[in-house]
């Protein structure tokens, strides 16, 4: 008798349901999987990350090896995507530039997102004067087109990839701050926040343990979409000569180089441009898909 109950007890633990904490994420993933373009974008990003990490070891040429005899050659078996005005292999340069592009995208969003999220949470949680001051500052930043703002910042800081990251980060701060403030306001009103206050929880505990975990989905969506914008802005700055300095194989800079030969050798500008389009498109598709997947109103 006792053995049989023990047996039942055992099977019960054996078929224990999966950790419910991931249930929400699993649901989001299920919805995301149904969205074709989001999955294409996601796999493209995954592919680009792999290329960025291992690609540089497998390129046929070094990105800065010049071959003046073979300059401005169209795509061929030797140079898959042709050569530029110094005879450098464009394919190798694009591969080497992938990690630069992704690093600029990720880090500027990470930096800008972190600052923006903090400002947004504090503004939303404390409200009143704190809110007014912080959000008016954000409005000032938001009043400038982000590329213009980044341009101004880079001009002040000086042109380098690092400064591009900082500039793009600053220009994405207000976007995060606004979204996070709104979400914070709606979560703050919920009764469990009052319950924590009634228990005597500190503001820091409420903000980081109770508000932040409940506003992650809009942040994730915004971050994904913002990476695309950040990459575009960074390429734009490099195109204008304010970002990566030659001979760095940055896509925006390559595009800028190719501009002079657009008539005779369009491939020099075409391929870096296509690469930028591809990355931006991938992040946008994934971001849009994530937004729909996180939206509880969209059905599976």
């Amino acid at each position: 008798m006792s053995q049989s109950t023990e047996h039942i007890e055992n099977t019960r633990t054996a078929i224990k349901p999966p950790n419910p904490r991931f249930k929400n994420w699993r649901l989001v993933y299920r919805k995301l999987k149904k969205n074709k373009s989001a999955m294409v974008g996601g796999f493209l990003i995954l592919f680009l990350i792999i290329v960025a990490i291992i690609g540089p070891y497998f390129t046929p040429y070094q990105p800065d090896t010049q071959d003046m005899l073979n300059k401005l050659q169209p795509p061929s078996g030797d140079n898959w995507l042709g050569t530029d005005n110094f005879g450098r292999d464009i394919f190798s340069r694009i591969i080497h530039g992938t990690n630069l592009t992704l690093i600029v995208g990720f880090f500027s969003v990470l930096l800008g997102g972190a600052v923006g999220v903090l400002i947004g949470i504090f503004a939303g949680y404390y409200g009143g004067r704190t809110d007014s001051i912080l959000m008016r500052l954000m409005d000032i930043l938001l009043a400038f087109p982000s590329i213009l703002l980044a341009l101004a910042i880079v001009t002040v800081l000086g042109g380098s990839l690092q400064n591009v990251i900082i500039a793009v980060a600053i220009s994405s701060v207000p976007v995060f701050a606004r979204i996070v403030r709104g979400s914070t306001l709606s979560v703050k009103k919920l009764e469990y926040i009052d319950a924590m206050r009634a228990l005597g929880a500190s503001d820091a505990r409420i903000i980081f343990k109770h508000i932040f975990p409940n506003i992650t989905s809009p942040i994730i969506v915004q971050a994904t979409l913002n990476i695309a914008t950040a990459i575009l802005s960074a390429s734009g700055l490099s195109f204008l000569g304010l970002g990566a300095q030659p001979p760095t194989p940055e896509w925006g800079a390559m595009l800028s180089d190719g501009r002079n030969y657009l008539y005779n050798a369009p491939h020099v500008a075409l391929f870096p441009g296509l690469a930028i389009v591809l990355v931006v498109l991938a992040f946008n598709m994934l971001g849009d898909g994530l937004r729909d997947a996180f939206d509880p109103k969209t059905k599976e």
């Binding site: 419910p20 904490r21 249930k23 007014s132 919920l190 009764e191 469990y192 009052d194 319950a195 924590m196 206050r197 009634a198 228990l199 005597g200 929880a201 500190s202 505990r205 343990k209 109770h210 975990p213 409940n214």
Partner: protein
Amino acid sequence: MQKQKELLKVTDLKQYFPIKGGILGRTVNHVKAVDGVSFTVYEGETLSIVGESGCGKSTTGRAILRLDEPTSGEVEFDGKNLLAYNKREMNKNRKNMQIIFQDPYASINPRHTVRQILTEAMEIQNSVPKNERNDRVIELMETVGLGPHQADRLPHEFSGGQRQRIGIARALSVNPQLIIADEAVSALDVSIQAQVINLLKKLQREFKLTYLFISHDLGVVRHISDRIIVMYLGKIVEIADKKSLFDNTMHPYTTALLSAIPSTDMDKKKERIILKGDVPSPIDPPKGCRFHTRCPFATDLCRTETPELRKADGMLDGHMAACHYMEDIKSGKHQPTTV
């Protein structure tokens, strides 16, 4: 009547919410949600506050706990003025009084398991030593009627009634003396309401709890309360022990409110008093008696002078109402002035 210990004493509590307007965001007016409320809660009793929506009953509860800072007044808990505490002192003292909320879906963090919710409450107040917290979680869950095997589940795996039990367990985890139940059963099914009310009663006996029970449901209030406060538009209109309030109703508003309780008694034909109009805006409450705009007995005196809470002949100790004419209405001397 035995002399009981005063646990919570509220004196002239006011809660005005500013209305900001204009370009400069200046305060243009105030919502006078609670306007001078005084009452005492004795240890071990259940005091209910009833009234229709917007009468300030929830605001009173929140102001006592300083979830919203009250505009003025005094809240004494166990002889100490809570409003004099700074934030840190207040947080320390919060373990003595807890709140149970209305909406069981909004009142617990959807991302924390029951164990996390209860442990965190103990951690904040340090009410239970670290190594005993796990045992205490199980004990609390059993106390409120949940199984220990449910400790690691998330809120969405529970029903509304079970969630409310989690909320109650969280309130109990810091061993409070006073629990404010803010519409604690209003969002539940009737059958579940009964279960939760019985649980609250059981807990009260077991832990010698004092309840401030805020509700609009007179049936529930009648079942659970020792004393009842009736509020209208930010003021107390009548305060009495349960029996006096139901059997010897003094204030016309209370009479109207009580006449709305559905009855199962077919023989007893009750007269329904249907009040005309809406509750006036608390931004600009009527002068004099706040009920005069809807009161069938209103006279010019009601429109100019605010009646104070007072005891009339034939009322038991502790029974007070705020009406100029309550004796005359009771004896039939004062007839309705409007048809």
